[in-house]
Amino acid sequence: MEIFSNMLIYFVIIPVLTLAGLALTKNKGIDAIRAVAVTGATALVGLAVYLVVYFLHARAAGDTSDMILQTSVMWYEPLNIKLALGVDGVSVVMILLSAFIVFAGVFASWKMDPLPKQFFLWFFLLSTGVFGFFISVDLFTMFMFYEVALIPMYLLIGVWGSGNKNYSAMKLTLMLMGGSAFLMLGIIGIYFHSTSTPGEYTMNLLDIAKNNAIPHNWQMFLFPMTFVGFGVLGAMFPFHTWSPDGHASAPTAVSMLHAGVLMKLGGYGCFRIAIYLMPFAAQQLGWIFLTLTGISIVYGAFSACVQTDLKYINAYSSVSHCGMVLFAILMFNSTAMTGAVLQMLSHGLMTALFFALIGMIYGRTHTRDIREMGGLMHIMPYLGVGYVIAGFASLGLPGLSGFVAEMTIFVGSFEHTDMFHRVFTIAATTSIVITAVYILRVVGKLLYGAVQDEHHRSLTDADATERISTATLIIAVAIIGCFPNFFINIIRDSFTPVVQALTSVM
């Protein structure tokens, strides 16, 4: 089979094999379950790293095609739906990010109880969807994997969550599915306008972009559909309200994966499908979404300032940071878009880190209310320091990932000289201060100060698996922060076709 000679497919096959392996384990055999999960996650990380190396090698060897490792196998012939694979720089780094977060997520849910086997089953199903989404270049398969990634959330939150989990899980699922309803219509519309010769419709987004046949009036209809569809997942104002509740109720690893990777699907889709395929409408309607995302950034940050639940703070902070991603994408130049991808990476890692730490803290104190905690730095210094580092990454400390991402975005956004973009860019920059406010507020209340609850004194610091989980993420955050050019070189060329398409319709 041709498809199996493409290494990308193994990003789907490995999780599926892991699923199969997990299915074979016994419910009670916790060690076997862990072993399978860790093996799968490690294999994914290894493959992702290899993919990066391969990609750099291919580019160095002069492969300048838009996507490398392209394979296309006919799937549904009557509809011309193919299993089309291919990656460019953006997908490569997103795959790398996902692999890392899956890896950290496995360790973060080491002591999952009850039903560890089922938990990991759903967890890896979710990963399958995520990886499948990033390796696909066919709209149908992309959408399919997108939904595969969404639905396990329901059970993961519903069964293993906490708090008001039923409500949150349902709300999250329904809102995201609502988004995907928009998306589905958008994709179908794109399909039927994908070519100017009737009957040769295609789902392959490279072909669609090449044909550039979507009529302008249809673009004006389909662009909002797809953008909102992905925007919901990207927590765009005002469709972000699933995020606080969902994250608050989700178990640690799920929050990690969801905020870390799943929300990135939104940003990735916005640029890969909405903007790339419909540049005209993007130029025409971009300002609407720019306004919304601009609001997201500031609004999320301000909302985070007054929350008292750790996860809510983080969720609103995600709204702000993910708003930044979409905001940057809508700036339509390669610098800002590069920044957007960096921000996805950065936000993915640091939010995962945050959620991992929150989960670990919650697992010990059994509360997430910052008013009931204090001085935890005395008691669990490792977690405390990790939290501070995550906080610094979030508020954009140089040397950690947040800084390079935000700066790239700001510099890119500042390319626009008109008043409208300027105002929103300046507004977006203010978020760095507000972010500092809420991050330091939490750090101050949670970690510093006197110990609030005397019972907390008997708690322990992180154990080995928790350290692996957090250390992986911290190192990743630091690597991006210290060597951004490595990633930028991978990412940047991927935007050339998009930017060309966008400028050609100006």
Binding site: W75, Y76, E77, P78, L79, I81, P114, F140, F143, M144, F145, E147, V148, I151, Y154, L155, G158, V159, K165, N166, A169, M170, T173, L174, M177, G178, A181, F182, M184, L185, I188, G189, Y191, F192, F221
Partner: protein, 490 residues
């Protein structure tokens, strides 16, 4: 007199042979070995199912009253598969104490109603169609009343038979108008003579006709019998009603609308269907939200599913037909899985409400798993087949390119969110509420297991294995079918 024309209908003949075998077994076998009748019937029907995959001759018979082509062949096979699963799942139930005495009749009636459905599918004359319709619904009324120890069963049967006759009366009135206008009942002749006719009478006739078929398909507002009958009928009959009966009606509906009223009359019925679909999907969903009885719940869910099926009809082209047939196939597997689980649990414990299902995963993980597959498939969640069928039927609808259809698809999509909500409620009960399980762990019969296995495999594989859809699509796109669609003037 040319009896060789009967050779045009090998599937119907084969089915009647199966019926006869079962009938003879029922009549002449000693009561000792009577217990083997369900198994016998299932096996024979299984063989028949395989047999009917043999290709059939294309063409029409009985002076264009009957048509056999690849599409009808495929549709009948789809129904056969569903029927086989239903029979398989009812083996254990028909041997249970209260039903055992009537088990022969159960299988005979099932087979005869299937025959009626064949006629609906293949009939190209309204008389044949009406007889098929009645054959498919009247014996079903008696099947509904099968569970004699339950009052609900009688009540359901009474409701069913009264409303069914009422609806057929309305439909016949509409048909009489059609006859009055065109002077013929042959599909192909009507098609040519209604051309350009824009009278109110034809519109009324069409509305009555749609209401009559819509009754079988449970369109709102002709759907009100559905929930009560589904709830009262024995679960096996309910599952039969909800998938096989509905599937055949949908196909016949497609043929009638496209072939008979397709030419020049498409705008009228498309408009009607548009309205009906919107109402059907929405109201079905709204009702389903509040249901606690699972059979009733699935009744409303099937109402809204019928709305989705109609999206293929409104497209009125080869893509629409292919996606509709594919949707029906997937729907058969999904719904039968759900009903299979319900039937097993009802047989073992008599519990049918969602609250009873709380924590099912803890005691019966496999049943819960299959139920979840069914719910996800019905809700259109990938990678299960329901996702593909939903996507394709939306694509089929949108292939007409009209903006109004896009709006319709959007409404349908919004409704999928509501439907997902209630499907997830079931999943929630089984998986999330683990603390309060009332259904004890038990072992199901091998036949039920087999049925559920087939359904699960179907749900998982039909989507991923693309050749099924491709095959159906090749059939509907073949030259033989193209004449049917060429009449539609978009």
């Amino acid at each position: 007199m040319d009896y060789s024309q009967f050779l045009m209908m090998p599937q119907e003949i084969g089915l009647l042979v199966v019926f006869l075998l079962v009938f003879l077994y029922d009549t002449f076998m000693p009561s000792k070995s009577h217990k083997g009748l369900p198994l016998f019937a299932t096996i024979v029907f299984g063989l028949f199912t395989i047999y009917s995959f043999l290709p059939v001759p294309d063409g029409s018979a009985f002076g264009d009253m009957f048509e056999s082509n690849k599409a009808t062949w495929a549709m009948k096979n789809i129904l056969n598969i569903g029927m086989f699963i239903v029979l398989l799942q009812s083996i254990k139930w028909t041997n249970s104490d209260f039903v055992a005495i009537r088990r022969g009749e159960f299988f005979e009636l099932m087979l005869l109603t299937l025959f009626g459905m064949y006629l609906m599918i293949s009939g190209r004359h309204f008389l044949v169609f009406v007889i098929g319709l009645e054959t498919a619904s009247l014996p079903l009324a008696t099947l509904v009343a099968f569970e004699k120890k339950y009052y609900e069963s009688h009540e359901a049967a009474a409701k069913y038979v009264l409303t069914a006759v009422f609806s057929s009366a309305i439909m016949l009135l509409g048909l009489s108008f059609v006859y009055g206008i065109t002077g013929t009942l042959y599909f192909n002749e009507i098609a040519s003579s209604v051309q350009g006719n824009k009278s109110l009478l034809l519109i009324v006739a069409l509305a009555f006709l749609i209401s009559g078929v819509g009754y079988k398909l449970s369109f709102v507002p002709f759907h009100l019998w559905t929930a009560d009958v589904y709830q009262g009928a024995p679960t096996m009959v309910t599952s039969y009603l909800s998938v096989i009966s509905k599937g055949s009606a949908a196909f016949a509906f497609f043929v009638i609308l496209v072939q008979v009223f397709g030419a020049a009359y498409a705008p009228v019925w498309e408009w009607m269907l548009y309205a009906v679909i919107v109402i059907t999907i929405t109201v079905g969903n709204l009702f389903a939200i509040r249901q606690r009885n699972l059979k009733r719940f699935l009744a409303f869910s099937s109402i809204s599913q019928a709305g989705y099926i109609m999206l293929g009809v409104i497209a009125a082209n080869a893509e629409g037909m292919a996606s509709m047939m594919y949707y029906i196939l997937v729907y058969i597997f999904s719904n039968l899985a759900a009903f299979g689980v319900i039937a097993v649990i009802e047989r073992k414990t008599g519990k049918v409400t969602t609250d009873d299902y709380n924590g099912l995963f803890k005691t019966n993980p496999w049943l819960a798993f299959v139920m979840m597959l069914a719910m996800f498939s019905l809700g259109g969640i990938p990678p299960f087949a329901g996702f593909f069928s939903k996507f394709f039927i939306f694509m089929g609808a949108c292939s007409t390119g009209s903006v109004a259809i896009y709006v319709l698809v959007f409404i349908a999509l919004v409704n999928t969110i509501i439907s997902l909500y209630y499907y997830l409620l079931v999943v929630k009960a089984m998986f999330i509420r683990q603390d309060e399980c009332v259904i004890p762990a038990f072992k199901s019969h091998w036949s039920e297991k087999a049925g559920l296995w087939i359904c699960s495999l179907g749900i998982i594989l039909i989507g991923i294995v693309s050749c099924i859809y491709t095959g159906i699509s090749n059939i509907t796109n073949s030259d033989a079918m193209s004449t049917m669609f060429s009449m539609i003037q978009q």
